[in-house]
């Protein structure tokens, strides 16, 4: 491949592109014609009322949930056409969950190494070095030998972020990463996410932490009843939301 072509193609192809996705759970339509794209280095915050389909949308991005119609492209590769290996595609997109989902039977270090060794086939020393570097970065070096359930929620979530980063992802998906945390632990997790964003990581973040959105988001996406109601630059979303539904939502979450 020609180097110049490669860079220009990479620059213009969105890292994540959701195209007209519909999804049903049996007879209930959860997603209605959702389209959204996230460019390289962009941080997109997704918000909306409970049950609006945010988690479902983000799970469709790495095919944890199959879509019924429409398509999702990761760096231009379709997840629905059956040509690409889904596990390979997923390995390239990091995901952080509301309830951390660290593997409880493995030590912190093992949590960070398992994917590197079994999926990326890295040598165990290489995986270990990488893991220790990431643990240092999230301030968890001292806890490498502990088990997840021996740590606080905030610590577990930072490790979960490190586990995702260990795979060298091209993008990170977050599904309400701080909403299961005690208030005093939210900051330590958000700090890690802010620094990731500032380093240029491509991120799609479902969160109601509007402070985070104001600080690092490029765009805010507002969802309601399975639809993407608003997809606007951050400033405009906060100053002048277009839809009544977004206005109502904003006034509700900003009032407390």
């Amino acid at each position: 491949m020609n180097a110049a072509d490669g860079t220009s193609a990479r620059a213009t192809t969105p890292v994540v592109e959701i195209r007209g996705v519909d999804k049903w759970y049996s007879t209930f339509q959860v997603l209605k014609g959702c389209s959204l794209s996230v460019a390289r280095g962009e941080v997109v915050v997704v918000c909306g009322p409970s049950g609006s389909g945010k988690s479902t949308l983000i799970k469709c991005v790495n095919a944890l949930e199959p879509v019924n119609t429409g398509d999702v492209l990761i760096e231009g590769t379709s997840i629905t056409d059956g040509k690409a290996s889904l596990s390979k595609l997923r390995a390239r997109v990091g995901m952080v969950f509301q309830h951390f989902e660290l593997f409880p039977h493995m030590s912190v270090l093992e949590n960070l190494c398992i994917g590197q060794e079994k999926v990326l086939k890295r040598k165990s020393e290489e995986a270990r070095d990488k893991a220790m570097g990431l643990l240092a970065r999230v301030g968890m070096t001292a806890h490498a030998g502990k088990y997840p359930l021996q740590l606080s929620g905030g610590q577990q979530q930072r490790i979960a972020i490190a586990r995702a980063l260990a795979m060298d992802p091209i993008a990170m998906l977050f599904d309400e990463p701080t909403s299961a945390l005690d208030p005093e632990m939210i900051t330590e997790v958000l700090d890690v996410m802010v620094s990731l964003a500032q380093e240029g990581m491509t991120m799609m973040v479902v969160t109601h932490e509007m402070g985070f959105a104001r600080k690092v988001a490029d765009r805010v996406v507002f969802m309601d009843r399975g639809e993407i109601v608003e997809d606007t630059p951050k400033a405009r979303f906060f100053e002048d939301p277009q839809s009544d539904r977004a206005k109502a939502f904003l006034s509700k979450i900003l009032s407390h």
Partner: protein, 231 residues
């Protein structure tokens, strides 16, 4: 012959022929639990499949095996099948019968264990790019195993005693050998007490082993453990 004979009791307590019988009982148990667990795992996975073609036969299998007595199954295998030209020795029949029967019960235990591992754990494993096999191997199975240790331990205890049923088809395990020795001096009570003691020793030893296994696999879930043995 009336009264309790201590000499006979102690003689039988250290009788090599009986000890061998107890070892056979132990062997039958280890074999049928080991292979029963493998087969039970396969049946459990089939049973949980969304494809009827897999789940229906698995359901049918457990229905038959759990709905009929082991004794009847053993007699069918050993005495009935030869009628169709399928012949197994006593040992083969016993191993097959015990394993097939136990697999049905163990599959239910395994299924409950797998089901107890949360959807979130499966998604986390898939999200880092694991294949379905890897998800099972590294994330679901180890967690399911910890959950099934107590019921699995119960099964081991049960099988240790259930093997005695194979004495009916003249499998030379502990009970059969006890019965054989009765012909010697007709010390019925002494002999059966000895047999009971052997069973008790085996089930008690297992209880200790099970507790150790539980502790080993429970380490990660004990909030104190990691703080004590910091690496």
């Amino acid at each position: 012959m009336k009264g309790w004979h201590w000499d006979g009791f102690f003689e039988y307590l250290t009788n090599g022929y009986l000890i061998e019988g107890a070892l056979v009982t132990l062997g039958l148990t280890v074999f049928s639990i080991f292979f029963g667990l493998i087969l039970g795992f396969v049946i459990a996975v089939m049973r949980m499949s969304k494809y009827k073609l897999l789940s229906a036969p698995a359901y049918f299998y457990t229905w038959i095996m759990r709905g009929t007595p082991l004794l009847v199954q053993l007699i069918i295998i050993y005495t009935g099948l030869p009628q169709l030209g399928i012949k197994f020795t006593v040992v083969e029949s016993t191993l097959i019968g015990l394993t097939l029967n136990e697999a049905a019960y163990l599959s239910e235990i395994v299924r409950a264990g797998i089901a107890a591992v949360s959807r979130g754990q499966v998604n986390a494993a898939r999200a880092i790019g694991m294949t379905p096999f890897q998800v099972m191997r590294y994330v679901v199975a180890p967690q399911a195993f910890r959950i099934i240790i107590p019921p699995l331990g119960n099964s081991v205890n049960g099988v240790l005693k259930t093997t005695s049923i194979a004495s009916i088809i003249s499998m030379e395990e502990l009970l059969r050998r006890t019965q054989v020795l009765i012909q010697e001096r007709f010390l019925v009570l002494e002999l059966f007490v000895v047999a009971a003691i052997y069973y008790l020793i085996m089930t008690t030893a297992w209880e200790f082993i099970q507790r150790r296994i539980e502790r080993r696999f429970g380490r990660a879930y004990d909030p104190q453990a990691g703080l004590v043995e910091q690496r």
